[in-house]
Amino acid sequence: MELIFEISKPGRSAADISESDVPVFNIEDAIGKKYLRNDLDLPEVAEIDLIRHFTNLSRRNFGVDLGFYPLGSCTMKYNPKVNENVAAMPGFTGLHPYVDVESAQGNLQLIYEMQKYLCGIFGMAEFTLQPAAGAHGELTGIMMIKKYFEKKGRKRRVILIPDAAHGTNPASGALCGFDTVELRSNSEGGVDIEHLQSLMTEDVAALMLTNPNTLGLFERNIEKVAQIIHDKGGLLYGDGANANAFMGKTRPGDLGFDVIQLNLHKTFSTPHGGGGPGSGPVGVGKALIDFLPVPRILKTGDKYSWSEKFPDTIGRVRSFYGNFNVIVKAYAYIRSLGAEGLKRATEMAVLNANYIKEKLKPYYDLSYDRGCMHECVFSGKRQVAENGVHTTDIAKKLIDYGYHPPTIYFPLIVPEAIMIEPTETESKETLDTFCEAMIAIAREAKENPDGVKNAPLTTPVTRLDEVLAARKPDVCWKKP
């Protein structure tokens, strides 16, 4: 397909500008030539060509609305359309963030109530909705931990991170000046308690734990883990990316977590948008409330307002208040489902994942054969050993079957990892057909490995040369 620049023709335009109803003048004289640019190389296309271009591009893309999208750790559940509709209401989209609070009471009430609902769901004392994404929330959480120890006059230098953790965990720790130390997993896929005990000192500020972890397994020793950390005055940080596994069944706050971050674009059904926008709220227990970012919402009587009068705050982590329109969608989702609906979502998510696990385990090596939660992790080891068919090949072949592949090569502790998270919004028929495809691929990997290694064959482009893209990066089109 051509680039928009390649279908551009001088003199065309897809957006007109109104004529000025106020006096016009010579801008060069008024502002000064040195401040003005003398080139503007943007595409010139007619509206019909613009629409065709982007519409055709959209048809070279794959979203949840097209088919099953079992990306482990991403929770690609269905994005309810009613949420899109309500979030598009002018009352929500049209307000400037600096409008006076009296004019934004609806928005402030929404944010306040959202914070309250999240506290109830996760067992935390208070929430901030400021961070724009999960990683942003992690950074915010780690900053609050840092401030907590600063306020105590103690500088702790270390953060413990399990070897199965998502890359944002150590990155966030390092960005706040902490040394990150890797914590081993045991043979059951949980935290190696002995290793944790040996690593836990009064120089450790926190353990960052994802529960259930990136293997989809619930930490059976969570009570002991929390105790080991707390006994030495440390804090337990929870990566809530896998919250879809426990809503209505248990709460991180009750399990001993002091701070957690969530991903609204995962658990709370807001669309992923091709990579964003998301939203990464952070919940805290009482010990960390004072350090929450500002501004924070105050409720006096039935009036809401913003306040920055919190002397121990870590400050701001972004401009304005958060990805508000994303929060609107998540709010509508929570109101729509209610407590029972959230619990049912979790139950069906876990049911679906276990169902797939049982159906596929004769054909693919299961990394840990115990009950999984909302996702299961297989390894493509068997297929590699048999005929050199790698997980990447299996993923590409799934594309030819009409599916988006699961997450591959993560977590790093499972070789040739295949992480499948079906979510609760998929029917039994969808899961059955998917398993049939996976089983067919396993068979083909045995009997006709080249058929798998050459996939995908049904897409507009076949496997792309990533080596070339990294050796000679071309990230900006240049006119030939």
Binding site: I4, R12, S13, A14, A15, I17, S20, D21, V22, P23, Y35, D41, E44, L57, G63, Y69, L71, C74, P80, V86, M89, T93, H96, G106, N107, K116, G120, A132, H136, L139, G167, T168, A174, G177, M247, K249, T250, P271, G276, P277, G315, V317, R318, S319, F320, G322, V326, A332, A339, L342, L351, M373, K396, R463, L464, D465, A469, P473, V475, C476
Partner: protein, 441 residues
């Protein structure tokens, strides 16, 4: 409303296949004492109709203004109809990050086009696929400069958006960097002497904004010269991207990083988010910059295709050695911006000119009022600062007529009493401006 398709029959069959008698068996790993009966504090479930009703009630509690004169980092611009129709396509908005390139050529190509347009608009060589907002884009550039050089001092002009400076303070505290704020001159532009005094060989980066928070256009070239002479890097920000339609971009003057807020490019005001962090840089920083990058390449048959490239910069590979932890970004907002820029094309300049005409008209009419004075003498784009007898009263009068007045500067700049930061975009009509002036009189 329930989005789970499971019938009781489905559940029975699936439980049998798994070998459990009931759902609760699947949650056996949760210690008994921590099992929840019911999530507290959540109202009962609603039907779809009730959901719409509840949300409408909330939306109605907001008051949409007739007119707004506030910019200050978020701008009311016209969004052409094409933008909503494209970003509303489910193939785009229900997709995830394009890690599987073969089925994501749509968003990958769209982002490649966006990167190209941004690099051109900012007169740099590379732009990433987005950061969270203008503030985080600017601050991540500053942190990158510090990490690359090992130096720990950051200089920031006071005329940079107050919230951006707050975010900078937070990130610099977390990393142990020091921040020095730079004064502005009576013209509204940066004090070059003050800059020269503060620049030493410990400075990693200097952060400026143009047009700055006061709406004043900075002269970037002399700033760049001073900064580079001392071995530091220049990060130049902006808050209204439409300014790039007519103003010379900081990249043309030699800025190392050009960063800013892309909300003006086809994204609604949305009460502050989601917005769009624009991050552009000189080619030599390509292997160090944060954020995702789409690169063009070929498939086995020699066909052009696009992939996420240079992923070794990112957190999922570099982990604790990454210079940023960003994962999810603002891709759909970047798509909106790409559609917007492709739609306007060269008309972006006409749009910028219209903003300038409207702003000048508003400014002249207000200066005609008794006691209203210009505060800064340097040229502006679509925002400016005026001092008046009683700024609070002015805004109150306007508010009573359903109009959002100017941004009061005193809370961020105590020395600027009774001073309002006012903005006029193409969305305000001559009649509207005339009415504003009448109300204030």
């Amino acid at each position: 409303m329930d989005y789970c398709p499971h019938t009781p029959d489905d559940i029975k069959q699936m439980q049998a296949a798994i070998g459990v008698a009931g759902i609760d068996e699947l949650f056996a790993d949760i210690p008994k004492k921590f099992r929840l009966k019911q999530i507290p504090d959540i109202p009962s479930a609603l039907s779809e109709q009730e959901t719409v009703s509840v949300m409408s009630d909330l939306a109605r509690k907001n008051k949409l203004p007739q007119l707004t004169l506030t910019g200050a980092g978020a701008y009311h611009h016209f969004i052409p109809a094409v933008v909503g129709h494209i970003v509303g396509r489910a193939e785009f908005y229900t997709a995830y990050t394009p890690y599987q390139a073969e089925i994501s050529q749509g968003i990958l190509q769209a982002i490649y086009e966006y990167q190209t347009m941004i690099a051109h608009l900012t007169s740099t060589e590379i732009a990433n696929a987005s950061m969270y907002d203008g503030a985080s884009a600017m601050i991540e550039a500053a942190v990158l400069c510090a990490k690359m050089s090992g130096k720990t001092k950051i200089i920031v002009a006071r005329s940079v958006h107050p919230e951006y400076r707050q975010v900078l303070q937070t990130y610099c505290w977390a990393n142990g960097y020091t921040v020095v704020e730079l004064a502005y001159m009576p013209s509204g532009q940066i004090d070059l002497n003050a800059l020269q005094n503060e620049l030493d060989d410990q400075v990693a980066a200097v952060l400026v904004q143009s047009p700055n928070f006061f709406g004043v256009i900075e002269d970037i070239a002399p700033v760049v010269d001073n900064v580079h002479k001392k071995g530091a890097l220049l990060v130049a920000g902006f808050t209204d991207g439409t300014s790039l339609g007519i103003l010379k971009p900081a990249g043309a003057a030699g800025a190392d990083f050009v960063v800013g807020e892309g909300q003006s490019f086809g994204n609604p005001l949305n009460y502050g988010g989601p917005y769009l962090g624009i991050f552009a840089a000189r080619e030599k920083f390509m292997r160090r910059i944060p954020g995702r990058l789409v690169g063009a390449t070929e498939d086995k048959k020699g066909r052009r295709g696009f992939v996420l490239t240079l992923q070794t910069r990112e957190q999922h590979i570099r982990r604790e050695k990454a210079t940023s932890n960003i994962c999810s970004n603002e891709a759909l907002c970047a798509l909106a911006a790409g559609v917007y820029l492709a739609a306007l094309g060269k008309n972006l300049r006409k749009l910028a000119e219209l903003n300038i005409y409207k702003t000048q008209y508003l400014k002249n009419k207000l200066l005609g009022l008794v006691g209203w004075q210009e505060v800064f003498s340097a040229p502006v784009y679509n925002e400016f600062v005026l001092r008046c007898p009683d700024s609070r009263k002015v805004n109150e009068k306007l508010k009573n007529e359903g109009i959002i007045g100017g941004y009061e500067l005193q809370k961020d700049y105590p020395e600027l009493e009774n001073s309002l930061l006012l903005c006029a975009t193409e969305m305000i009509s001559k009649t509207g401006i005339d009415r504003v002036v009448e109300i204030i009189k």
